[in-house]
Amino acid sequence: MSNRNKYTAYLPLLTSGVFLLCLVLSSCYEQQKVIEPFVPSGNHVVLLEEFTGKGCTNCPKGSRELENLLTQFPNNLVAVSLHAGFFANPQFFPLGNYDLRTDEGELLINYLSLPIGYPSGVVNRTPVSGDIQLGLNQWASAITSAIQVPPAIELSIVRTYDALTRQVVVTVNGIGKEVLEGEIRLSIMLTESGIVDAQDDLEAGGIVLDYVHKHVLRDMLTPSTGANILDGISVGQTFSQTYSKTLEDIWVADDMEIIAFVSLVNGSNFPVLQAATVHLAD
C-alpha cells in the first residue's frame, strides 16, 4: 500500500478515535450536583399512604422507611398503612390472629391504582412521572418537593373523646389560602399503632409472630374517597365539618390517631392539598 493510500485508509479511523475520545472526555469536566441535607420548614403537612399486607414480605422495609421519614419530618408528614389487596388477604396468607383490612382500604387500593411492586406508597395522591404508586426510593423526594409548596388550605382538628362511651367527636376546621376551583373533599381516617400480630418480613428472615404494626387504618369517618364539602374555595373562606364515631371494642384508643386531609378532585386528578393529625385520646 502506498503512503498516500495508507493515509487515506487510516484517516477515517483516526478521526473516529478523536471523536470517541471527545465523547469519553466530555464527561470528565462537569459541575456535579451538590447534595445538601434537607431541613423542612413551613406548615405544609404531606400525606403518605403506604399499601401493605401481613403476607407482603417486602413491606416491612416500607414501614421502616415510613418511620424514618416521620422522624425526619415530624411536623410535615402524616402516614397511614393500608392493609389491602392480595398480600393482606388472610385467605391466601393466614398469618396471625387479625384481619387488618378495611372496606375503605380495599376501595382505595383500586381508586389509587394497584401497586406494581412492594413496598409501595402514594404521596399526597400526586403522580410522579405519571405514576401515582411510588416505590420506596421515591417517597423522600416526593415528600420534600411537596413540603416546599405552601398549602392552599390550612387545617386544624378539634376532637373530644369520652372514654366511658368510647365515642369520639371530630371537628375539622379549614381556611382557604388560595383560590381553588373544583370539588374539595374532606377525608378523615382513624389509625392505630402498636397492634401485635404476625408479619412476613424478608429482612427478618421470614414470619415474625410478634411484629408491631403501626399506623394501621381502622376506619374512616367520611366516605372512602372523601366527602364533598365545597365546590371551590376563595382566600379567607372557612369551613367546619363535624363527625362522630364509637370506637370498636378491640381498638386501643391511646394508640390511635386522627388524620384529616383535603383534596381537590378534578376528574382523575385528586391531589391532597393539606393534612393534619392529632392523637385520638388525651
Partner: protein
C-alpha cells in the same frame, strides 16, 4: 398526536411522489396479536386481579407496516394494550398508539435512520435497544442513528436520543458511538479478528437530578453522598478472534461513577434501624469472554463473566425490566422444556461471577450427546453467594425420516430467596429427567410426545408433565398437555399442598405465513425469563388466542 398526523402525511406524500417516479415500491407488514379470555379458578388464581374479577378479556397487539422505495425505508408500528397483564401481572394496563416509527436512507457510504431505533454495541453490555414482547421490554432509542462505512471492513456508528418508556420517553439523553472492524491476518487469511470499541454517554435531566437529590438529601451521615454527577460514560472494547476451528470472543466494559440503587447494601435510618437497599455512588465493570471449538463432530464452548455494579438505566428510580440501557448476557442454558425451564436464573447486575461449559459430540449421524454445566456466584456477598448450579445432559437418537428421540437429565440448585425474593425459601434442588419422542407416520402426519418429571422437596414439590402434539402438515397441529403437582411439598403451616392439575389443550392452524392458535390453559405461577431478564408471573386460567401474520 399532531406530530404523528404530520409525520403520516409526510410519509405518504413522499411515497406517492416516489411511486409516480416509477421506482418500485415494496410494502410489507406483520401482525402479532394475543387475546386472553380469563376464567377464574379460585384454586390457582389469587383474588383481586381485575381481569378475572370484572374485565374478562385482555388484548396485546402489534401491527407493523413497512415501505421501501428508491433507497428510502419507512416503517410504523401500532401497539394496542387493552386490559393487558404485561406491564403489571396483578393489574391491567390499557393504552394504544404508535409504538414505533422510523425513516431511513442510504446515501453513499452514509446510512441514516431517524425515529425508534433498535441496535447494540458489541454484545450489548453497554448498549442494547431491543424489544422482548412477552416481558413488555421495548427500550428503543428514539432519535437518530448514523452509520458510516469507513472502509469495506470498518464501520463507524453514532446514535443520539432518548429511550422509549411505554408511549413516552425517559428524560435522560443518550449519545454514543461505536466502531467495528474486520481484519484477516496470516497466510491464506486463516486467522481473522473483528475488533470493536463503543462508548455511551448518559446525561440525567434536571428533573431527574432534583428527584434524586431529594432522596439523597434524607440519608444519614453514614450513607450521605456529597455530590452526584449528571453524566455517566460507559465504554467497552471487544474482539472476536477466529482461527481455524477456534473462536474466541472477549469484551471488557467500564462505567464511570453514577448513583445506582444497590438492593443489598445496608443503610442506617434516622430511627437507628438498619435497612437493606440504598443508593450508592460507584463505578462498575463487566468482563465477558467465550471460547469455542467446533470440528470433527465435537463442539466445545466455555463462557466466563464477571459483573460488578453494572446497573445502567435511563432513570435511577426504575427497577426490574424498566429503563435498561444495556443487556448483560445470561450465563445459563436457555431451556425449552416446561419443567427444565421452571427455575431460570435472572442476570445479576450488581455482583455476579458465572461460568458455563457446553460440550456436544456427534457420535454418528444419528446419535449425539450434549453436556452443559453452569455455575453462578456472587463473590462480594456475605450471604447468598453461591446462587445457581446446573448440569444438563441430552442424548439425541434418530432414525432418519422415521423418529427422533431426545432424552436426558437436568440437575439444578437454585437460590429461590435471592432470585424470587421469597423470604426464608430454601434452596431449590431439583432433578428432572425428560424424554421427547417425535414419530413420523408419513410425510404429513407426526406425533410428538414429551414426558418430564421434576423431583424436588422445595417450593411446590415434585411435578410430572406430559405432552402430546399431533401434527398434520402443513396446516394443523393439535396439542394436549398436563402439568401435575404429583408430590406437593409441606407448607409453612405444616399442611401439604394440594395436588392440582394444570392442563392445556390447543389447536394451531397455519397457512402460509399466517398462524392461528387457540389454547385452553391453566398455568401455575412461576418466573418467566428471556435472555436473563425475568419476572414473576401469577397463575393463569382461561383461553389464549394468538394470531400472527407476515404480509
Amino acid at each position: 398526536m399532531l406530530l404523528y398526523r404530520i409525520l403520516t402525511l409526510v410519509v405518504f406524500s413522499t411515497l406517492s411522489s416516489l411511486v409516480y417516479s416509477q421506482e418500485q415500491l415494496s410494502l410489507s407488514g406483520s401482525l402479532d396479536n394475543n387475546t386472553y379470555f380469563y376464567i377464574y379458578d379460585d384454586k390457582i388464581v389469587p383474588p383481586g386481579i381485575p381481569q378475572y374479577e370484572r374485565q374478562q378479556i385482555g388484548l396485546d397487539t402489534w401491527l407493523s407496516l413497512r415501505a421501501q422505495i428508491a433507497g428510502f425505508d419507512f416503517g410504523m408500528r401500532y401497539d394496542i394494550f387493552e386490559n393487558s397483564a404485561l406491564l403489571n401481572p396483578t393489574d391491567s394496563y390499557t393504552a394504544q398508539g404508535i409504538g414505533r416509527w422510523y425513516a431511513g436512507k442510504k446515501i453513499g457510504k452514509l446510512s441514516l435512520l431517524g425515529g425508534y431505533i433498535y441496535d447494540q454495541f458489541g454484545s450489548g453490555i453497554i448498549f442494547r435497544a431491543y424489544e422482548e414482547r412477552p416481558q413488555l421490554i421495548d427500550n428503543a432509542l428514539v432519535g437518530l442513528k448514523l452509520n458510516y462505512q469507513l472502509t469495506p471492513n470498518w464501520t463507524l456508528k453514532g446514535i443520539a436520543g432518548r429511550q422509549k418508556d411505554l408511549f413516552g420517553l425517559y428524560e435522560s439523553v443518550l449519545t454514543g458511538t461505536n466502531i467495528d472492524g474486520f481484519v484477516t491476518v496470516g497466510k491464506k487469511d486463516k486467522i481473522s479478528i473483528a475488533p470493536g470499541f463503543g462508548v455511551i454517554h448518559k446525561t440525567l435531566s434536571d428533573d431527574q437530578m432534583e428527584a434524586l437529590a431529594g432522596t439523597l438529601a434524607q440519608y444519614t451521615p453514614e450513607d450521605f453522598i456529597d455530590s452526584v454527577p449528571y453524566n455517566t460514560v460507559a465504554m467497552s472494547v471487544y474482539n472476536t478472534l477466529s482461527a481455524g476451528r477456534f473462536s474466541w470472543y472477549a469484551e471488557g466494559a467500564y462505567k464511570t461513577e453514577e448513583v445506582i440503587f444497590d438492593n443489598y447494601a445496608t443503610s442506617t435510618l434516622w430511627t437507628g434501624v438498619k435497612s437493606v437497599g440504598k443508593f450508592n455512588l460507584t463505578d462498575g465493570y463487566v468482563f465477558y469472554t467465550t471460547l469455542s471449538y467446533a470440528g470433527g463432530g465435537l463442539g466445545i464452548s466455555g463462557q466466563y463473566k464477571r459483573t460488578s455494579n453494572f446497573n445502567f438505566r435511563a432513570d435511577p428510580f426504575v427497577t426490574g425490566n424498566r429503563g435498561m440501557i444495556n443487556f448483560l448476557p445470561p450465563m445459563s442454558r436457555v431451556n425449552t422444556y416446561r419443567l427444565t425451564s421452571r427455575y431460570a436464573p435472572a442476570t445479576q447486575e450488581l455482583d455476579e461471577q458465572a461460568l458455563q461449559l457446553d460440550v456436544r459430540y456427534a457420535i454418528s449421524k444419528n446419535l449425539s450427546i450434549l453436556v452443559n454445566y453452569a455455575h453462578i456466584t456472587r463473590p462480594e456477598a456475605e450471604t447468598h453467594s453461591n446462587i445457581y448450579d446446573e448440569v444438563f445432559t441430552q442424548f439425541t437418537l434418530k432414525k432418519p425420516k422415521k423418529w427422533t428421540m431426545i432424552s436426558g437429565v437436568q440437575y439444578q440448585r437454585y437460590d429461590q430467596e435471592l432470585y424470587q425474593g421469597k423470604a426464608g425459601a430454601p434452596i431449590v434442588k431439583a432433578i428432572t429427567p425428560y424424554i421427547d419422542f417425535l414419530y413420523k407416520f408419513d410425510q404429513k402426519k407426526s406425533l410428538r410426545t414429551e414426558v418430564q418429571y421434576m423431583a424436588t422437596k422445595q417450593d411446590y414439590g415434585s411435578w410430572i408433565y406430559g405432552l402430546a402434539e399431533f401434527s398434520i402438515s402443513p396446516h394443523w397441529l393439535f396439542e394436549l398437555s398436563d402439568m401435575y403437582n404429583i408430590a406437593p411439598s409441606v407448607k409453612e403451616d405444616g399442611k401439604k399442598g394440594e395436588k392440582l392439575h394444570y392442563p392445556t389443550a390447543g389447536v394451531v392452524y397455519s397457512s402460509g405465513s399466517t398462524r392461528y392458535s387457540l389454547r385452553y390453559v391453566k398455568q401455575v405461577e412461576g418466573v418467566v425469563c428471556s435472555g436473563g431478564i425475568c419476572r414473576l408471573e401469577p397463575a393463569f386460567s382461561g383461553v389464549k388466542l394468538n394470531i400472527s401474520a407476515n404480509f
